[in-house]
Assembly symmetry: C2
Homo-oligomer: 205 residues x 2
């Protein structure tokens, strides 16, 4: 029972909540922001610095960092903040994953752990209508429909760019994952149930 | 219990077999080639003609048919064979789907039935290694690894082009479906079990 579940998710799909409830159901640890803290603790960066910078990928593509910058990490060769943060997070993810079964949300964990740890890689997405509703009513990140739509578009673009940059693969392309589920169609609880069943089936293999 | 399950699948993923076993498990009809026959019966085309032509999409993109050619069918405006066949198949799919719950494999059924019939849209895919094995050992469509690889590439391209042409969406993009499953990871039987559970959850909604 040492399989790690990685969850990539569209913003507003409830993927983080699904991951959290799934970890509770399976009684295994759940990691998202904690990874940043771990990364901070072990890389010498101040936590605040990482928290401030780790989501700012807007000017990201202008850095000339090789895609493989995070692999076989050579600190002295990394001369920009984002790559260092990514590398610190990748190190933390790998260390956590090697401690045993857990759920890790986001941060290209599927790619970081590829060929290193047995993973069930999941992608959670949802219809735009449901995502807009969630962004307004649950996250409280937007006050109206138009703002929510813009936020979805921006977040989708940012995550896709980030994923493509580090993995050379397309975020949301089914073939990158083991299981993709539309949370708007099944609802949060049923998604958790389905993923738990899939995890148990997978872990037995 | 009138939800239709549509299955899009990568060649060599076992998606057709999964669909067949799923239909058996749920005790509902299963359609793939039968659709062609139905289409033939109701459109005036000879069955042989359709069987000969319906998979030949190599020179397809050169025809100047609007993407919406099959919708609101106006026969006199369709001046090429492929579009007529697609329209005949779309008609047949819609007619079959409206008879009640069933499993339909391939033929852009997800797109044909959009906003017309309640559908659970599934995409089945698999790792290349597993697909190559299946193409050689199960289908017997290739005698060696190299030929199998070429066949996979050709089929993937052909299905992606066909899907893109008629739906304006990307084949294999998770967000087009409700559930995507890697059959190499779970195995055929477990996929059937998972899809049956998803179907029952979905149908209750």
């Amino acid at each position: 029972m040492d399989t790690v579940i990685t969850i990539s998710r569209q913003f507003g799909s409830g993927g983080r909540l699904i991951g959290k409830l799934l970890a509770q159901k399976l009684n295994i640890p759940f990691y998202d922001k904690e990874i940043i803290v771990k990364a901070a603790e072990n890389s010498g960066f101040a936590k605040e610095f990482i928290a401030d910078n780790e989501q700012k990928h807007s000017g990201f593509a202008s850095y000339a960092i090789p895609t493989s910058a995070w692999g076989g990490i050579s600190w002295s060769n990394l001369d920009n903040f984002e790559a260092k943060i990514y590398a610190a997070e990748a190190n933390a993810i790998e260390r956590l994953a090697k401690q045993g079964a857990c759920v890790i949300v986001g941060r290209c964990a599927d790619h970081v752990l590829k060929d290193k740890v047995k993973c069930l890689n999941v992608f959670v997405f949802a219809d735009d209508e449901e995502r807009i509703k969630r962004v307004i009513d649950v996250y409280g990140d937007a006050t109206d429909r138009k703002k929510a739509q813009k936020l979805l578009r921006d977040k989708d673009k940012s995550r896709a760019r980030h994923y493509r940059y580090y993995t050379d693969a397309e975020w949301g392309d089914a073939a990158n994952y083991d299981l993709c589920v539309n949370s708007a169609v099944f609802g949060i609880d049923k998604c958790v149930e389905m993923l738990a069943a899939a995890y148990l089936a997978f872990d037995k293999k």
